[in-house]
Symmetry: C2
Amino acid sequence: MHTDASNMQALRTLITAVRPPRRAARHSVQQHLDSLTKPKGSLGYLETLAMRLATIYGDPPPEWRDRVVFVLAGDHGVAARGVSAYPSEVTAQMCRNYAAGGAAVCAIARTVGATVTAVDIGVNAELRPATNLHIRKIRPGTRDLSVEAALTIDEVRAAILVGAALVLERPTLPDVVAMGEMGIGNTTAASGVTAALLRVDPSSVVGRGTGVSAARMTRKAALVRDALARIPDRAGPLRVLAEVGGLEIAGLVGVILGAARAERAVVTDGFIATAAALAAVRLCPRARAYLFASHLSTEPGHRLLLEALRLRPLMELDMRLGEGTGAALALPILDSAAAILRHMATFERAGVSTHRAG
Amino acid sequence: MHTDASNMQALRTLITAVRPPRRAARHSVQQHLDSLTKPKGSLGYLETLAMRLATIYGDPPPEWRDRVVFVLAGDHGVAARGVSAYPSEVTAQMCRNYAAGGAAVCAIARTVGATVTAVDIGVNAELRPATNLHIRKIRPGTRDLSVEAALTIDEVRAAILVGAALVLERPTLPDVVAMGEMGIGNTTAASGVTAALLRVDPSSVVGRGTGVSAARMTRKAALVRDALARIPDRAGPLRVLAEVGGLEIAGLVGVILGAARAERAVVTDGFIATAAALAAVRLCPRARAYLFASHLSTEPGHRLLLEALRLRPLMELDMRLGEGTGAALALPILDSAAAILRHMATFERAGVSTHRAG
């Protein structure tokens, strides 16, 4: 573990090192898109994705071979308050399930040609490391955010640095990063982070999570409202993450900063991962250029977060599982957008007549 | 070419041969879904897709290896009326582009592990056959629907049978069928088919197509309205396809019936392909169980068609290109839905605690 001062310096260095993407100039990518054998703009948002990917990776973007889904897991002290429909033990049990390849994200990742790397960044159990289960525990779960700060600011910084290191200290840099989380109780934490960063009442962001009753939802919102009372109006994202966040949420902030530093696209997932995305962009606005939304979930706070981030979801399938399922599902869509620039013929080359007067 | 009577008989036989999917019982698939390591229903619409695929293919659905995108191409007499922003020659030019692998659908199909088979079912030019460009021409384009019936009823039947044969007489049956179309002028034809089948005014379905001006849109709607005046209120789908349809549209009706006959999922594309889907379901209501929507395009008639078909699009990306781009893009999502049943562990097997009282 670093000391407070060195973590502070390391995080500052990381944030400063994130550069705007500029491997291709927007006007030249636009010219390329408009020269391809399709009516101008007819691929809609796929063309916007192609543009963004080309500025990050160059035009055409190279094929992605090494696609990774980082699933960060951590426990939450607040789970003891009955905010989830599942007991805390499920966090550790699901980590073993990721390691064994039996979870939903494993099935989807396999289908889209990605690998899953699960990371215990704060699970309240002793887990055995495995090829695809890394142990990077900051502490065994957060403190109960309903009575005290869930983390210290330095624990938050340490978790962010762990997340960034997952990307930056990997034997080889991944070509694209998808992300997800697991942590019983973490929709409560994400609701707190979202409400604090967006300055809205918790009732507008708290949802059913894994499927709790209306009574539990009211309790969740009340717990979050009480916790938010501890946070001063001008608190920055680190303080917010410390008071009401989670280790996996802070870790995902780091995954995003690491991906942005490495100039890789990073695909966010559901409500909780997107709360981490907003915290990351508040810490480092330049990171936004590397972020891609995947889906819009049924959690009410998710839409607010995506709007604040100005990110457009690619699917709306009523998913609310997290663990990177939506992010993995979005990879072929992003890849297809890049493939347009990689493989399509131009009007000239294909001998296709261009537009006549409309 | 068959005679009228034999085509009529062959089409009747095809329609009668379509069976409801029943390789797995819904209640047993639901039990399977609810036993998997995720909160019940948390994968949202992906679970509905998994259910539908399991009833078609069995539970778990086997992996799809042979995925094909059929792109049917035909010309339209009405194109001479200036309803498109492109000249008719583009239909043939794009067929050559499909054969050469330079079109958008080729780039996307390659990314999602599908092959493209383009089919000249009515292009007004001599095209040379190639490995992935089949010549099955019924006639070199339709008659001008603004002055007379675009096709005879027997030409419609012949085109449907050609489409069905693409699936059923393929050396091996494809595992899944995606479909698309190309034909300058065919949003006008599809608008006519949609307005006639749904009994709505053409102004509510006519859109910008490949990108025409407001003046052209008004002309398109007026042309379609005039043509619809020829169709009696009780006209069936064959008569509608004959008066205002197209060879590629009728061919796609056949692709759908062929896929349904072969008990394969068939993925529809944009406005034009979905107009064919509605015609197919009107001819053979049992075919609906095999149909999957891919995306919602910007053409106003598309939403009306999907609502009438009770099909939910998986993406809404402002695409309006056709040629199977949306259908190809949907394949990994459908495949991921099936993969959940194929690869996910059960709570029991993974040793994960189930739900506690909500």
